[in-house]
Symmetry: C2
Subunit: 398 residues, 2 copies
């Protein structure tokens, strides 16, 4: 018998708590796990020895938690170096912890890998498992990431509403979408399109650098045709020189411990684009919104599929820990369309830790400013049903 | 027998289409109404003689429409002068229109009043009825406005999630909320609070001018106590000199035809506040989001009560038109708490047209930076059930 610890790292998502609940409920079935601790604020809580006991959390609390957005144990953006990890291992030893379940993105997979190695060096037989989460959907190996479907649902519903708003009061509307340096979430803004002329009419992804000239020309073409234009732009879009537009705008760009530039939490990119488009095209009504943290932490708007998968991933990590030393849980799609189904498998931490995954070329249209049907087929099962909408203003005049 | 026209004006809401559907379904019961036209883009469509026929829209379409955000007939921000209204009346005469149903805010009530008067002068026996809508909840006479409950639900769910996000990654978070020059919607950001230390911890309303010094001191006090702080700020907040902060920030502030300054569609206020707080308090993590148009046009997130009331208001306008020449539909609360109930009544257009309604003094706490229990009692029935959430990180450490 030994103890286990679970924690959550990086940016919150709408279903990271579902994965946590999966770990908690499966740990109860694991004969070799005694106490399950939750480390508060991830690695930062571990080095400070700040744990709560998750062994006896009530089922009712677990169900509410599984449906709650954000990280129920708190999070951290610390990037542990060797000395930091050694501190962690000493705490693990003191508490007889031999299982480490870490829910996070690729930086967290990397931390998991290092923790597993240093534990080995320090003579602790620690099992270390990574459970994927990110709204950005940029993890390798897995078909998609828990957290993405829920954020995708949010931005799809948002753009459905925003497009109808833009029909009512026409003009150019620019929406800046999260996703860091991958275009997956921006791609999802188009999932709710129902009519031929529904927006977003243009989408710009980090994978396809674009000049202000090209973007303005694209917008002008749509506006000339429809009298309006809705544009979804990734916070991570790059200019043709390869530099992040967002970075260019921030004289003192904030960089986190992992070397990531702070792209969210400011409306600068949206406002810059609106001002540029307004002055270049001479269109009176140009508006811009930055969707911000709403995309990852909105209460009451989970994708059911996403929440179920996140929970399964949490449970599976505990199951893998019975017969394995370390690994990352991944999803494989074994059925498509109405037969959509996933199977879980284990992959090496290194495979997930080192790089991120771009929006696939086959999901981007030839112009580089929209998605393909293949993307809709890929993403719709993750999002689930979207509401239908009606607009009457385009009916024949009498 | 005569024809009728219905249209929608001003900013969209989540239930303005429910009111439209109410007009359409009740017009079918009205023996004296022949064809019901929809004017596309409000008064702008009327002067251009751009109408669609709403008489035979299918029930299925109507139900989807009633659940769709934004204005299904399109909208307009035109402010008709005398010549403009005369053009409208000429179109009405040509089309044998003797009923005018206009869904909008106080500017629309005013338009309705003028249209009714000019029709009289021009010898047209026109019945003109205003149906209230606004997410701002700033119309006089009525207990509350259709559109407010749905927007209130959105911001309540948003702040529930945002507060959990801020627990996970502590710092100062500032959210800029719509509402123009009334604090009703900003007040609603606190409706989802469940725990004593849940945010928003501070709320700033246009009704209570506040200096940067005071706001910074308030934030510091919360941050010193909790290690984090979530702040909801109305887009219409005023400095102590009475001027809009948003206006101060816009060198070339856009003003619409009604003389309203454009407060939405830019992240400038949020970014300004974040920069100020960061430099004044020396707190590393300060983020700001501007919720923007999501608050009024998000697909799939209606308040059920709001949608039902909006529809009733639409139907009632048609019923009033049988025995009255003009008026505005208003709501009166005849039961509170679990017995919440409203009755509809008619008020004069002038009563709604001339002024707006501030957030009531009794709903603002003595410090001017939060709400009272009386506001929760007032607003909760309009929003309906909110999701419950859990956070474990504040449990006792073991």
């Amino acid at each position: 018998m030994a103890n286990a610890v679970v924690s959550q790292s990086g940016g919150p998502t709408g279903v990271i708590n579902a994965s946590l609940v999966g770990v908690i409920e499966e740990a109860r079935n694991h004969p070799d796990i005694d106490t399950l601790y939750g480390a508060v604020h991830a690695v930062a809580g571990i080095v400070k020895d700040e744990f709560i006991d998750l062994t006896d959390v009530s089922d009712e609390t677990l169900e509410i938690l599984a449906a709650s957005p954000s990280s129920g144990l708190g999070s951290s953006r610390d990037k542990p170096d060797k000395a930091y990890v050694e501190k962690m291992i000493n705490v693990f030893k003191k508490r007889n912890i031999e299982y480490f379940f870490y829910i996070g993105g690729n930086d967290s997979a990397n931390t998991c890998y290092i923790v597993n190695q240093v534990a080995d060096e320090m003579g602790l037989d620690l099992k270390a498992f990574h459970i994927p989460k990110t709204i950005d959907n940029d993890l390798r190996v897995t078909d998609h990431c828990p957290g993405y479907g829920t954020a995708a649902k949010f931005v799809a519903c948002a753009l459905m509403g925003d497009d109808l708003d833009n029909r009512a009061l026409p003009g150019v509307k620019i929406d800046v979408i999260m996703g860091r340096e991958a275009g997956w979430l921006t791609a999802a803004t188009a999932l709710g399109k129902q009519r031929d002329d529904d927006g977003p009419h243009l989408q710009y992804f980090p994978e396809k650098p674009v000049s202000m000239e090209k973007m303005a020309a694209d917008i002008k073409a749509v506006y000339d045709k429809l009298g309006r234009c809705v544009v979804a732009v990734s916070e991570g879009i790059r200019a043709e020189d390869g530099n992040l537009w967002g970075k260019k705008l921030q004289e003192n760009a904030e960089v986190d411990a992992h070397g990531n530039v702070q792209l969210s939490g400011s409306g600068a990119l949206a406002d810059f684009l609106a001002t540029e488009i307004k002055s270049r095209l001479g269109i009176a009504r140009v508006r811009a919104d930055t969707f911000g943290y709403l995309q990852r932490s909105f209460a009451g708007l989970q994708s059911k599929t996403d929440a179920e998968e996140a929970r399964r991933c949490g449970r599976q990590a505990v199951i893998y820990s019975k017969d394995n030393d370390n690994g990352s849980v991944a999803m494989k799609r074994v059925g498509t369309g109405k037969d959509y189904k996933i199977e879980l498998f284990m992959t090496e931490l290194k495979n997930v830790a080192e790089h991120t995954k771009d929006l696939d070329e086959k999901y981007i249209n030839s112009e580089g400013n929209g998605i393909t049907e293949a993307f809709v087929d890929y993403a719709m099962p993750l999002v689930g049903d979207l509401p239908r909408t009606e607009y009457l203003g385009n009916r024949p005049k009498v």
